[in-house]
Amino acid sequence: MDHGNVDGLGFLASAPGRGGLLSWIGSTDHKRIGLLYMGCIVFMFFCGSILGMILRLKLMTPGSTLVGPQTYNAMFTLHGVIMIFLVVIPSIPASLGNILLPLQIGAEDVSFPRLNLFSWWLYVLGAVLALVSIFTGTGAPDTGWTFYVPFSERTTTNVSMAVTAVTILGFSSILTGLNFVTTIHRLRAPGMTWTRLPLFVWSLYATAWIQVLATPILGITLALVFAERVLHLGLFDPGRGGDPLLYQHLFWIYSHPAVYIMVLPAMGVISDIIPVFARKNIFGYKMIAFSSLAIAFAGSLVWAHHMFTSGMSDTAVLVFSFLTFIVAIPSAIKVFNWVSTLYKGSISVDPPLLFSLGFIFMFSVGGLTGLVQGSAGTDIHVHDTYFIVGHFHYVIFGGTGLGLFAALHFWLPKIFGRMYDKTVAKLSFWIILAGMNLLYFPMFILGLEGLPRRYYDYLPKYAHGQMLSTVGSWILAVGLVMMFANLYRGIRRGPLAGDNPWGAATLEWTTSSPPPADNFATEPVVTRGPYDFRGVARRD
């Protein structure tokens, strides 16, 4: 069904008498909050990417070029802080999760709408503090995004403000998780049983538990860095009896699970997209749902694989190495199930599917190289080299990033009621994929050859790989600009998309595009599974 005048409809149009900016930044509508997040996240992604491009430009040739060493340190720190805490962690859950979770379970809103708005304000506060920390005090933070002690206690740069910002962002993330868990438990529409939940909801559920259970540890750890800097308690200071290794433990107890906050929602996206474009029920629904929880659980036990070379007992190394391999199992289950779903499906190669396939490819490369680091023996060789930089960019940019892009191409017509240009979308996908691989693959080789990460300068023998990588970053940038411009154009001027352009069977496609403020004209009653396509037609 086409709606003649899409701009006058749905939650995007302001209610009578309440227009303007205030009707957005004061709105408790989960869809508006989700879009607020999305706007901020895209903006921060631009900031972070520009920093990344400059880093890459500096590294193009050996020697002292473009920026000085101190600026370089500050730039990779901020690049990491922005990308991790302001882009990737909130990316899918806070933006698309907020928009889609209530729609997918047939609810009017999340359980605590005002708390939801408050989380967004905390996010903004954290973002502003993080940006302000660059320009105030005695210089931009230069510790790396991990804020490792004792350097982070001693450096005179503006670390105190940066850790405060990240602590606040942590609380924002906790509140979102808490809201989601409660919403999923309490607000499912009649008939929406646990085994009829879309897999995206399952992944948000697992993610929300990690947000609730792991993030407080980050909060207290970074609050302690702040306290150490201001009060000199000595808790991590070897000069006063403290132990820096305990900082690393506390930090990674959060930050390893955090990588699953980053990637689980993207996996949920892929699980929702693939059946639609293969027009087949997902293979192994329960296995995929269960593996999300298994990843969340097992992923919480492996933090010390970041510390194999920091000095731990051999037993501890063995145990953590073993546990790390266990996490690979539920991740592999998902990959096999996606591939099985595609097998003998009637596949239509639309942009969301392309980005999903890109996700599977990049995530597999990232995951397999993760195993190289999970084995203590090989990790000793590659630790703190470019191999690591390659690995985590494959996983979080190639994985979560492409998952986010897939989600945008899939749900944008639902959210805005308009369609982008599919040919341009496909072209931008191929450019992005090529750029990413040229940017990050040489890093594996450079790392194996011994190039350390976070170094300002390097030996001439690495120049070749560095050059390739920098060229890759330009190709990637072209693809990104093309993709975002296409999406933006689609939102503004694209043809009307209709309620269900892809012929998907989850609940959000049964309401109008864009959805009305209350989500559904009448409360939906669910009578079938999320991937049951009988009687659901594609628009074209």
Partner: protein, 198 residues
């Protein structure tokens, strides 16, 4: 948008939140455990310097306040608003008593040169320095929670007075009460760890 009230949902959310609070303190408890394991003798010596009487008095104060807050919920559910308000006032008063007591305790320690980063602490063995570092971090964080809890209870009391929290709609008071029990519970762990370890 229709106003809906989900009592069980509100409770679930509050329990999850309390869980995150426990985990927040959990990080510090982990540090405590690690350092106690490493410096048992120094922790023992540090514990000797804390005033058990003051600590015990604060324990009694908090346990009493947990009782008054629980009673205030019962009172409201029975429709006895005035009694509920008095009990809440008593709870907040006890909270302030706790903070005053803590203030005197801390100032006495400061007077002896025992404060974060002090010269005196630097001269002590490393384990004792860590003991007091943890003491200030943990009781400080707990004190902050007492303050937040007391504020929350005051706001709730104001809403009870204005008839926004009532016999039929007591979810907020109940959740504020739960929060207060958590504050109490954390202290019940802190007390033996610091005051009784000697």
């Amino acid at each position: 948008m229709t106003e809906h009230r989900d009592y069980a949902g509100g409770k679930l959310g509050m329990w999850l939140f309390l869980f995150t609070e426990i985990l927040l303190f959990g990080g510090l408890f982990l540090l405590y455990a690690a350092y106690l394991h490493r410096y048992p003798a120094d922790f023992n010596a540090g514990g000797k310097q804390l005033d058990v009487v003051l600590g015990a008095a604060n324990t009694v104060i908090l346990i009493t306040s947990s009782f008054t807050v629980a009673a205030s919920i019962t009172a409201l559910r029975l429709g006895e608003t005035t009694r509920c308000l008095w009990l809440l006032a008593a709870t907040v008063a006890l909270a302030l008593g706790f903070l005053v007591n803590k203030f005197f305790e801390w100032s006495a320690k400061f007077g002896h040169g025992i404060y974060p980063g002090s010269e005196h602490l630097m001269r002590l063995p490393p384990g004792e320095n860590l003991f007091f570092g943890l003491y200030y971090a943990m009781t400080g964080l707990h004190g902050l929670h007492v303050l937040i809890g007391a504020t929350l209870l005051t706001v709730t009391a104001a809403l009870v007075r204005r008839g926004r929290v009532t016999q039929g709609n007591f979810g907020l008071l109940e959740n504020a009460g739960l929060y207060w029990h958590l504050v109490d519970l954390v202290w019940i762990f802190l007390f033996p760890l610091f005051y009784l370890i000697a």
